[in-house]
Amino acid sequence: MPKARTTKKFLKFTGIPLAIFTIVLVVPFVNGFYYTFTNWNGFKTTKLVGFTNYADSFADPKFWVTLRFTAIFVVVSLIAVNAVAFGLALIVTSKLRSRNILRTFFFVPNLIGGVVLGVIWQFIFNSALVSLANKYNWELFKQSWLQDTNKAFWALIIVTVWQSSGYMMIVYITGLVSIENDVLEASQIDGASPLRTLFSIKIPLMAQAFTIALFLTLRGGFMAYDVNVALTDGGPFRTTELISMHIFQDAFLEGDFGTGQAKAVIMFLVVALAALVQVTVSKRYEVQR
């Protein structure tokens, strides 16, 4: 093909999406890196400041609270969401006649945005449970869970599991049904118990589903914002702020654009590193068929 024609075809098919992608995503991303080394105030930069913004970020004790809280949240939600989702997938792929109805019930929370879910659960923790606890004398719920940092953490986990397990369930269902029937029959004929089949046949053969679900929950955990805002709003006393919310507060409410962006870059590096490690490790367990 002549050069002019290939270029024309390239522009016709890719011009608009690539231009928008570059303007919306690539440029701000590169800008963001650059700004962290300057005294950017949201409008203009006048000089380079080296690593000052990063040093300021790490000198901020609240940032450490957030980092620690986010790390624990990511690990616990990763384990909880995937354990529950895998269990749900096993129930829904069993021979029950009601399996499709059950699947719908498990999936529906996932359709609804985190804000609405967060608000629903705020009502449950702040009002419904408290009023029931006073009526029936349940010590555990007499005071709202959202007023105590540790309990608010578990509230976040509960809502996250409720929201995300349906989606990950679908990922695991896809993995489970992709296993050929003759493999399962062979293991049955060889006298493998259901548990043995699960651990020695099903899980290794569907390792790819685990790679994907773990990746999605890892990323989701780091990026969690909606539920955090709507459920705890960082309270009590900014002790339950996940990293997204922390960056938002820093930049848009307190106007610290430089440190806010430095923290955003730190977040990006942590997410990229964690995802890379997770995918490399999980890939090792995938069986070639």
């Binding site: 390239f10 016709k12 701000p28 029950l96 804000v115 629903i120 990026m223 955003a264």
Partner: protein, 274 residues
């Protein structure tokens, strides 16, 4: 069926049902309390309504500007998803069919960009786009969704196009069809299943998104999640009205899901496996 298998089935059914009830319970609370008076809600949030009052719904409808937010959500979702389908299918077609270094690198950059959290660039993003946003904020938001959605959508289309034999393109070009005609008349209709996947995954994301609209949209352009959140912030103590507002926020998407249930499930499982 032997005894053990039957017992196993019973136990699975029991656990499944308990879990299903647990998963549904929060919605039950919302719906039940949305038609109760404030006093009755506080007295016992679990009790069924003594008398059904639609007052809460009327209030919520008006105060959260339900129809306006619903229209905004619909406009933004429909336009963003349609444009994403048009642009990313073309991009993916080009990248999958033109095997050279440029295509390979563009594809790699797109895939790599999926790991970047929006939060990592939202600050420079807002600084840069403030003028555009103040010019037309719904239009700007649609533009942003195309930018942020391109990578995943292109990736999904790319995987699917690789399964369509190139002989089809060649036949079309021998018959004298131009590139564009061949793509829209012949290839695109063959991609219906993946188009459904792309549409559902993006629609769910855009319909429910909160952070980006929160930064971009002004009050008259609010989408449903924003107006729900705002309504809740203002009327927290009016439990009944809040519950009615939440019910209103939940109902449209659930109806949509129940109609298209099969496509949803297969869309997500296809989207996830790729």
């Amino acid at each position: 069926m032997n005894f053990r298998a039957r017992l196993g089935k019973r136990i699975t059914f029991g656990i499944g049902s308990i879990l299903a009830i647990t998963y549904f319970f929060p919605f039950f609370l919302v719906f039940v309390n949305s038609v109760k008076l404030k006093y009755d809600i506080l007295a016992n949030p679990l009790a069924l309504p003594v008398q059904i009052s639609w007052e809460n719904f009327q209030q919520a409808f008006a105060k959260m500007n339900f129809f306006r937010s619903l229209t905004n959500s619909l406009i933004i979702t429909v336009f963003s998803v349609s444009l994403l389908i048009i642009f990313s299918s073309m991009l993916a077609y080009y990248l999958a069919r033109t095997k050279n270094k440029t295509s390979k690198y563009i594809f790699l950059i797109l895939v790599a960009s999926m790991i970047v959290p929006f939060q990592a660039l939202m600050i420079p993003f807002m600084a840069r786009f403030a003028p555009l946003v103040s010019y037309n904020n719904r239009g700007a938001l649609i533009f942003f969704y195309i930018g942020f959605g391109t990578a995943l959508s292109t990736f999904l289309y790319h995987g699917f196009i690789s399964t369509i034999p190139t002989e089809i393109d060649e036949a079309a070009s021998i018959d004298g069809a131009s590139d564009m005609v061949a793509f829209w008349r012949i290839i695109f209709p063959m991609m219906r299943p993946i188009t459904a996947t792309v549409a559902i995954i993006n629609a769910l994301w855009i319909w429910n998104d909160f952070l980006l609209p929160r930064l971009v949209l002004d009050e008259p352009s609010q989408t449903l999640p924003l107006s729900t959140y705002r309504f809740y912030g203002q009327y927290t103590v009016e439990y009944g009205q809040v519950m009615a507002g939440l019910a209103l926020a939940v109902i449209p998407i659930v109806i949509f899901y129940l109609i298209l249930q099969k496509q949803f499930i297969s869309g997500i499982s296809q989207g996830a496996v790729k």
